[in-house]
């Protein structure tokens, strides 16, 4: 046992400790050292100090911490005792080796209440300081209870050692006992919280996704409702919203095609109307008759009349033949010049006319007969009841966005109700009843150049100004 223990054997009638005889044993039996042990009636026990032995062998209590004593029995007669002194450090090491959880205390308590207590922070030896011995149930081999020690709650475990009346006690803090439960509880709470957060964020992202899908769809549909059918829902979703978007796209496609077909058929009807007019006119008859009149006029020296007839025929040829044709602005302007000359002669120069065309605009393509009806409208309506200072100004300008055409007169102005009707004219719905020329231009403009083209009329008692915008491609 090395330095940790000293062993004494005290026997009756024999000596193994020099100079001590059986008398010593007899004397020792009646000493205070053994009284406690003998009173316990046990064969062995752990005790704190043996002052008699100390005195006899000349040592101090500091040399050991506690001792073990065991009776040696021979034929039911005590013949001696073994006393085992154990150092404090040995006990401490043994207690430390018990590996109890942190903040726990472990204590060895002898029969006489001497405590050797180990904890992480301190080693304590004391005489029944904690009163552990009083708290445990004597006679039970082991047990536990919850109690308070130095202001903290512990679980108090104890176990009877061997056949003696000594005990091993452990104080395990309640916090450690409940820690795992707390950890489990906390994990559960955190788990539930995470679950709620995940559920919420999934819910939010789904609802946001749905919200986005709906708002995208809504935006496209409201554009479509306003007439812009060149819209498309870009939706990559594979769920019902993807299907809805696809169906809406298909529907828009169908509407687009239907609208295109409708426009085309309106155009075809108009063309057919013109063709039938052309057929009714019977050009062979028309031009031959005009030529006959022409030669009569020439025969009578009426060269002015002849000139007007040729001019009229030129006008008719240009306006009737391929009336939907695309020509250059310069070709259209050449025709307009002839038309204006004819009208000026017809009305005996009732009005002056200025034709102002940008050089850059000259080579631009334009559909025939979009400007002439505007001039005709001015000639027919603007100067009623007026003899002088009548003027029509025609301007054609090319800008980056397209062609701007303006026909302005200084005439009597347009009826406000009619002006309103013409400016809000919808060729898809309204039927042309009056002002066929202007409405025809509005319709053909939309059909040739789409929704970005414009015709607008401003009018007051100072005159009327009609503007046309043809977007460049």
């Amino acid at each position: 046992m090395g330095n940790d223990c000293d062993v004494f054997s005290i026997e009756q009638g024999r000596y193994n400790i020099p100079n001590f005889g059986s008398d010593f044993y007899k004397g020792y039996l009646s000493s205070n050292d053994l009284k406690v042990f003998l009173d316990s009636g046990k064969d062995s026990g752990w005790f704190s100090t043996h002052p008699v032995l100390d005195e006899t062998f000349g040592q101090t209590t500091a040399a050991y911490s506690l001792y073990y004593i065991r009776n040696i029995v021979d034929f039911r007669t005590n013949v001696g005792a073994i006393v085992l002194d154990v150092s404090r450090s040995y006990i401490m090491q043994a207690l430390k080796d018990s590996n109890l959880p942190k903040e726990s205390l472990v204590s060895f308590i002898t029969s006489d209440g001497y405590e050797t207590t180990y904890s992480e922070d301190s080693d304590i030896t004391s005489m029944n300081e904690s009163g552990f011995l009083d708290k445990l149930e004597k006679g039970k081999d082991q047990g536990y209870y919850y109690g308070d020690y130095k202001g903290k709650n512990y679980m108090f475990l104890y176990s009877h050692v061997d056949t003696s009346d000594s005990y091993i006690c452990a104080l395990i803090p309640e916090s450690i006992m409940t820690r795992e439960v707390e950890i489990l509880r906390n994990i559960t709470i955190i788990g539930i919280l995470i679950g709620i957060i995940i559920a919420l964020s999934i819910g939010l992202s789904i609802s946001r996704g749905i919200g986005n899908a709906i708002s995208v769809t809504n935006e496209v549909l409201s554009k479509a409702a306003k007439g812009d059918l060149n819209v498309h829902i870009h939706q990559k979703r594979k769920d019902e919203f993807g299907t809805i978007s696809e169906n809406i796209n298909n529907m828009l496609d169908t509407i687009r095609k239907a609208t295109k077909q409708e426009k085309e058929s309106i155009l075809k009807i108009k063309e057919a109307e013109i063709r039938s007019l052309e057929a009714q006119i019977n050009p062979h008859f028309l031009y031959n008759t005009l030529d006959a009149i022409n030669w009569v006029a020439i025969g009578e020296g009426a060269y002015e009349a002849s000139k007007m007839i040729s001019n009229l025929a030129d006008n008719l040829r240009y306006s009737i033949k391929n009336s939907n044709e695309v020509v250059t602005v310069s070709k259209e302007v050449e025709y307009l010049r002839k038309y204006i000359q004819l009208q000026q002669k017809r009305f005996r120069y009732l009005f002056d006319c200025i034709l102002d065309v940008d050089d850059e605009a000259m080579d631009e393509p334009i559909h025939k007969m979009l400007i002439q009806p505007l001039i005709e409208n001015a000639i027919e309506h603007a100067f009623i009841g007026r003899e002088e200072n009548n003027e029509i100004v025609i301007r054609i300008k090319k800008e980056d966005m397209g062609l701007f055409i303006e026909v302005k007169d200084n005439g009597i102005g347009m009826d406000p109700e009619l002006l309103k009707q013409l400016n809000n004219f919808d060729y898809m719905k309204d039927k042309i009843k009056t002002n066929i020329g202007l409405r025809n231009v509005a319709t053909r403009l939309k059909m040739y150049y789409g929704e970005n083209s414009r015709m607008h009329i401003d009018s007051s008692e100072k005159g009327t100004r009609i503007t046309i915008f043809i977007p460049s491609h």
Binding site: A292, N294, I298
Partner: protein
């Protein structure tokens, strides 16, 4: 130039004749009222220039020119037409047609065209 005029409408035929006679140095050698009579007239007169209408009763102007060409005649012709672009342009050029006059005929245009054709 000696010119023949083939035109079924009297006002136009006479008008052209008078205009050419009175306003130019050219001579009208004869006139006819349809392609058939025109053919005979042309064979007889062998004019420097034929002015012919297209649509005429009995025989139209282009058939008349084709017949004459098939018979080995060489000639210059001007067509009278109501349209600025007539669908027979390609065929007409093969048939010796050098120009056209739009109805109703403008006097200035007539004189200019005749001068132009004379130089061809």
């Amino acid at each position: 130039m000696r010119i023949v005029i083939i035109e079924d409408e009297v006002q136009i035929r006479e008008g052209l004749k008078n205009a050419i006679t009175n306003l130019t140095k050219h001579e009208v050698a004869g006139t006819a009222v349809d392609g058939n009579k025109g053919k005979a007239l042309i064979k007889q007169e062998k004019p420097d220039l034929i002015i012919t209408d297209i649509r005429m009763p009995v025989m139209d102007g282009l058939t008349m020119l084709k017949d004459l060409q098939n018979e080995g005649m060489q000639f210059k012709a001007i067509l009278l037409t109501g349209y600025s672009e007539f669908e027979y342009a390609r065929e007409a050029i093969k048939l010796g047609v050098v120009d056209y006059l739009l109805k109703p005929v403008d006097i200035n245009n007539l004189v200019a065209t005749l001068n132009k054709v004379e130089k061809v």
